[in-house]
Symmetry: C2
Subunit: 309 residues, 2 copies
């Protein structure tokens, strides 16, 4: 029986690596850069080299878990557009290097919710969900203790839920008015600019360019009227996404993760207020809360794939 | 080893009973009236008496499956408003009568999709969903071959998805603008009346009262402009519900059941057209089709609970 588990969170810019004890304690974490050259062909070798440097005998490793930025069906990566991977059997390639095929692969949004359910803000819940707001929007849903991929690896792709039914702006998915176009980091900035240009709501930020999401939220907290209106609109869309998740999969708890969740209770309270307006009684006790593991959710969740195999 | 399985579909008006072989063939089906007196206390005895009359020795019965009209969590009925049942341990009560505790209970929308997945229009799919349109709207979702209830038995409660965001009409759930208010049988009639009163779109049905859903669909098929507009609006809402199910649970196939599904390809084609407009590429191949078992979906699905235990 081995002593250690590795959890990898493979992103478009960095790869986060976590070394865990067999009991699931995080012993060490670090990250390496993601080399996307030649359709990401160097990534697997880079990860292997990074762990080789730890000089842990391979027989001491129980297994390896990966979170990857794209759809995964039955452990096979359908595609990771950001990395250049397509129909990629990561497990086979990594097993060749390590000589250990106890390898598990899941979508990054799925490993994030697993991490939070294992060691974060959703501990103990068998039905949970997590919406992560970053450059895009990710979502993982846990049903009866398990994440799922759906028929095409698109389960939890709530970023492409249509929330604007008329004159929505185009989304990279080919649709229009997707949740991601109004609530991702880019989307929030877009809503701010639109509202600044199309209303007379006063704001100290008028005339500034390159206003960050953090600045918008900080200004809203300080009482800036325009920023409050922007945050209110974002909160409505986010509460609607929570509503959609509730009436389809009915989790007991929905976590909000990603940079925006740093706005804390101020933001969560606004989401809850709108969520309550939907009013469907059986899900009225659904908890909406901030995720707690920050950028480590992915490595925790990836490691949990090995633990809960 | 027993030879037979019973599947029961308990509704507010009738209880459908199916006798199946151990191989899953429907041998006989019939129905009895639902006696809702005294909070439904006679229902279980009525079902037991109905099967007693078949004179099949109890040792020949493998087990019993029930579909019930309300939320079920881990086999316990949370409530069935229509029947008067609340926190009701149907399994314990029926086991006392039959002396056999191989009894499985699920929500009726869940057994319907299981029935269609076992013997109907979704055979062979591990990820499927079914929206049933009747007086209300039910929905069951199959993930990796299993239905799920969620934290409060509200999984698949898509009838209470908000689809009208402003000035939606009140729903019995306490919310406003729910999918059920515009796409259930009652909802469709309401949309027809609203559109008749608030537009000048010509129709042969203008001035008529008590127009049925069937009449609306038949008239639309015959080219009636107002009815075509009504069916188009309903189709949009239904396609949106399919879109919501797709971006959360990503089934390979979504079935439309209930009386309205008798409108057939005419209706399905309109739903598909709108669904394609949402355009999210990973789920573009999602099949939308009519359910095929009609009123028998429930007894099939209830029996399948015993078969696939």
């Amino acid at each position: 029986m081995g002593k250690y588990i590795y959890g990898f969170d493979v992103g478009g810019t960095t790869i986060k690596i976590g070394l865990f004890s067999s009991a699931g304690n995080l012993l060490k974490k670090w990250e390496i850069s993601t080399n996307k050259d030649k359709d990401g062909k160097y990534i697997v070798g880079d990860i292997y080299n990074a762990i080789l440097k730890q000089k842990i005998p391979s027989t001491d490793i129980i297994g390896y878990g990966f979170g990857v930025p794209g759809p995964v069906v039955s452990g096979v990566i359908i595609e990771c557009v950001n990395l250049g991977w397509e129909n990629f059997d990561l497990k086979a390639e990594f097993a060749l290097l390590t000589g250990n095929d106890n390898i598990f692969i899941e979508n990054d949004a799925n490993v994030a919710v697993l991490g939070e359910t294992w060691k974060g803000a959703a501990i103990g819940y068998k039905n949970s969900a997590m919406i992560t707001i970053g450059t895009g929007i990710g979502c993982g849903i846990v049903v009866n203790g398990m994440v799922f991929s759906g028929a095409d690896g698109a389960a939890g792709e709530i970023g492409h839920l249509r929330v604007i039914h008329e004159n929505g702006i185009p989304c990279k998915c080919g649709g229009k008015g997707c949740f991601e176009t109004v609530a991702s980091a880019t989307g929030i900035k877009h809503v701010f600019i639109e509202m600044m240009n199309n209303t007379d709501i006063p704001s100290k930020l008028r005339g500034m360019t390159g206003v960050s999401v953090k600045k918008i939220f900080d200004s809203a907290k300080a009482g800036d009227a325009l920023c409050l209106a922007v945050v209110d609109e974002i909160s409505y869309h986010l509460s609607y996404a929570c509503h959609v998740i509730s009436v389809t999969t009915n989790p007991a708890i929905i976590l909000i993760g990603g940079g925006v969740s740093k706005a804390g209770e101020f933001f969560i309270d606004k989401i809850k207020t709108h969520f309550d307006e939907f009013h469907y009684i059986p899900v009225k006790d659904t908890i909406i809360a901030s995720a707690s593991l920050g950028n480590d959710a992915g490595i925790y969740g990836a490691a949990s794939l090995v633990i809960y195999d």
